[in-house]
């Protein structure tokens, strides 16, 4: 007798949102939530206008401004006239199309992948699209969420749908537990280091195992945020009691009896115990150390107690990029990564700018001083995070240590605003990409690590194992 095979969350969500199969063999997939920001949407709205089409589901579409927002002063008009033009275009496009926009000062503005969850817009079992590759973040809730290009932003505006190929599913189980000083950021870097920066192409990553199940929602967001850095457009965690408790009472979450009915449906969308997967990978949590990148993509990652690899230790496939990395980073093959001097310390970005990230960083810097000569800044991910941090006295802790405390935005993650590296500066960064030039200087250098490790590096002036400061 045929064994009944269970379905994964990916399959259930896919089937529930399938409008039809397209002649090409792709699925016309309904998108339950479309998040819009100022950088990748103006041309999309313009194309929509040129086609003479309205926004089909304006009430499933929400917007905010994050990438271009200066974090020192957000007074309008913005000093950068082009950034101001983008800001105004978003205001006009959302007003014309009756799309709700979370404005600066509303208490709800912030990085799009921080505010979606905190407003309760991000929900299990849904599909989410945004013109930003880190949309995978929302998979933390058991949503299928992916980044799209601007032509696809137009497609979603016009049709609330995308033409998509169903991905394969790789289950990644992180077993055991994490040691002290090891965080979700280390787990996500470890996964990329293990499976490679293109290992996830064509896959959705389902993260599971005792380490993931024990994670808070904010830790799960950090994990899923960087699925795309491993090549996987989608990463997700099955919804559970932790998910539901996070969502309870959030402004856009169902309320009262509807919330209980929602929990029932959300739970039904989780992967079945007997679900079949295209691939299963198991990793041991206890072996994961605080992890740091040394090169020019997030797969160039090692434990902080390891040495930068020598070319001879790398596979043929990895050597070419590694050679470019050594030339660009000016770090010595075979040398320990610990001790690498830093110029800038950045805590922020859609990966690590939530309240738990700021609390951890604050606990490291409390009563200590940023090393002289290091430029250090903390940028909360949203106005809500900012307010919570203020209520807890975190800005005072950071300022007393010598950090700049800034206004919410994407900041130095991608440098579409005044926060940029200068020249060859080397930055200990809690963000997600260490590509050449990523942080705004064509020759600037980035070492990715957890907020705790950034805080520790800021204090010592060089990369150190945060476990020495716990």
């Amino acid at each position: 007798m045929a064994q009944s095979i269970g379905k994964s969350l990916l399959d259930k969500v896919w089937d529930a949102h399938s409008v039809r199969e397209l002649p090409s063999g792709q699925t016309q997939l309904f998108i339950g939530l479309h998040l819009v920001h100022e950088v990748t949407s103006p041309q999309g709205f313009q194309m929509l206008r040129a086609a003479g089409l309205p926004v089909l589901f304006p009430d499933r579409t929400f917007a905010t401004v994050d990438h271009i927002v200066p974090t020192a002063s957000r007074a309008r008009p913005l000093a950068d006239a082009l950034a101001e033009e983008m800001f105004q275009a978003l205001e006009q496009n959302t007003a014309e199309n009756k799309i709700e926009m979370f404005h600066i000062g509303s208490g709800r503005q912030g990085i799009v992948h921080v505010i979606g969850p905190e407003l309760g817009l991000t929900q299990p079992g849904s599909t989410i699209a945004c013109g930003d590759s880190h949309t995978s973040t929302h998979g933390a809730f058991g949503a299928i969420a992916f980044g799209i290009g601007t032509t696809q932003v137009r497609d979603v505006l016009a049709t609330q749908c995308l033409a998509m190929q169903r991905p394969r599913v790789r289950r990644i189980e992180v077993r055991g537990q994490l040691g002290a000083g090891v965080y979700a950021k280390d787990v996500t870097l470890h996964v990329i280091r293990t499976l490679g920066v293109k290992g996830g192409i064509g896959y959705a990553y389902e993260y599971a195992g005792s380490v993931i199940e024990g994670f808070s929602m904010e830790e799960r967001m950090t994990l899923c945020n960087m699925a795309i850095e491993g090549g996987a457009r989608v990463g997700y965690v099955n919804p559970d009691a932790t998910t539901y408790e996070y969502l309870r009472g959030r402004p856009y979450a169902p309320q009262g009896a509807a919330f209980d009915r929602a929990i029932e449906w959300w739970g039904s969308m989780a992967s079945d115990p007997g679900a079949s997967y295209d691939d299963v990978v198991a990793l041991e949590g206890t072996t994961i150390a605080p992890t740091v990148t040394w090169g020019i993509h997030p797969g160039h990652a090692i434990g902080v107690d390891e040495c930068i690899p020598r070319l001879s230790e790398l596979s043929d496939e990895d050597r070419g990029t590694a050679e470019r990395a050594f030339a660009y980073m000016d770090l010595k093959p075979g040398a320990p990564i610990a001790g690498t001097p830093i110029d800038v310390a950045f805590v922020g970005s859609c990966t690590n700018s939530r309240i738990s990230d700021l609390r951890v960083a604050a606990s490291i810097v409390a009563g200590r001083q940023v090393k002289s000569g290091v430029r250090a800044l903390v940028v909360p991910g949203s106005e809500a995070v900012q307010k919570q941090a203020e209520a807890e006295g975190l800005p005072e802790v950071f300022r007393a240590a010598g950090f700049d405390w800034r206004e919410p935005g994407c900041s130095m993650c991608l440098a579409m605003n005044p926060d940029k590296l200068r020249g060859r500066e080397l930055c200990a960064s809690s963000s997600n990409r260490n590509f050449p030039g990523r942080q705004g200087s064509p020759t600037g250098r980035t070492l990715l690590m957890s907020p705790a490790m950034v805080a520790a590096a800021a204090i010592r002036g060089h990369v150190i194992d945060v476990r020495e400061l716990l």
């Binding site: 529930a16 949102h17 409008v19 002649p23 090409s24 063999g25 792709q26 016309q28 309904f30 339950g32 990748t40 041309q43 086609a51 499933r60 950068d80 033009e85 983008m86 929900q123 079992g125 013109g131 930003d132 590759s133 949309t135 992916f146 980044g147 601007t150 032509t151 696809q152 049709t159 609330q160 749908c161 995308l162 033409a163 190929q165 920066v197 293109k198 192409i201 064509g202 795309i228 090549g231 457009r233 169902p254 919330f259 009915r261 929602a262 993509h297 496939e317 070419g320 990029t321 991608l414 440098a415 579409m416 940029k420 990409r433 590509f435 050449p436 030039g437 990523r438 705004g440 064509p442």
Partner: protein, 202 residues
Amino acid sequence: MEELEKIEGRRGTGVVVRGADIDTDQIIPARYMTSIRFAGLEEHVFHDSRFTPDGVAKDHPFNDDRFAAASILVVGRNFGCGSSREHAPQALTRWGIRAIVGESFAEIFFGNCISLGVPAVTADPADVEALMDAVELDPSQEIEIDLLSMTVRSRAGQARVALPEAARRALLEGTWDAMRVLLMARDEIQATADRLPYVRGF
């Protein structure tokens, strides 16, 4: 709306950008994206590999006059990794690129290429290497990508190329701009929305 072009292949001279994991920040640095238009992005394609911080042109194929009229880009592995920015293929197409041959592509970048009608086909590493060598040796030769026979032809010979079938069909049938296809199912879209408890209301 005007008819979309049915794309059965591309033919033109080539330009080679070597190296694996060329990310979209390399293709178009974010600091050149502060605009509500795509126009002008071509000036900054591969900017940081083409120019020193002082603006002095470096040795780069996109600065080399021999490749100035190229329309077929030949690349390595995992090209276009990183951000979802359509600005990357927009910068390439506005510079003159009409098709890409590579070892492999990042997924979002690939999708963006197809939705702009840019075939991004893959070939075996040895074939890509041979094509790269051939183009660098003789930049004036014509390269032909044929989506019917799924081959690329150059003076290096003929090699097999691959493209996911859905993308191939979309290009061949002129349905690579998905919006008009998606819009045909208006009633089904509404029916799907009505069926979803979180859209309908719990």
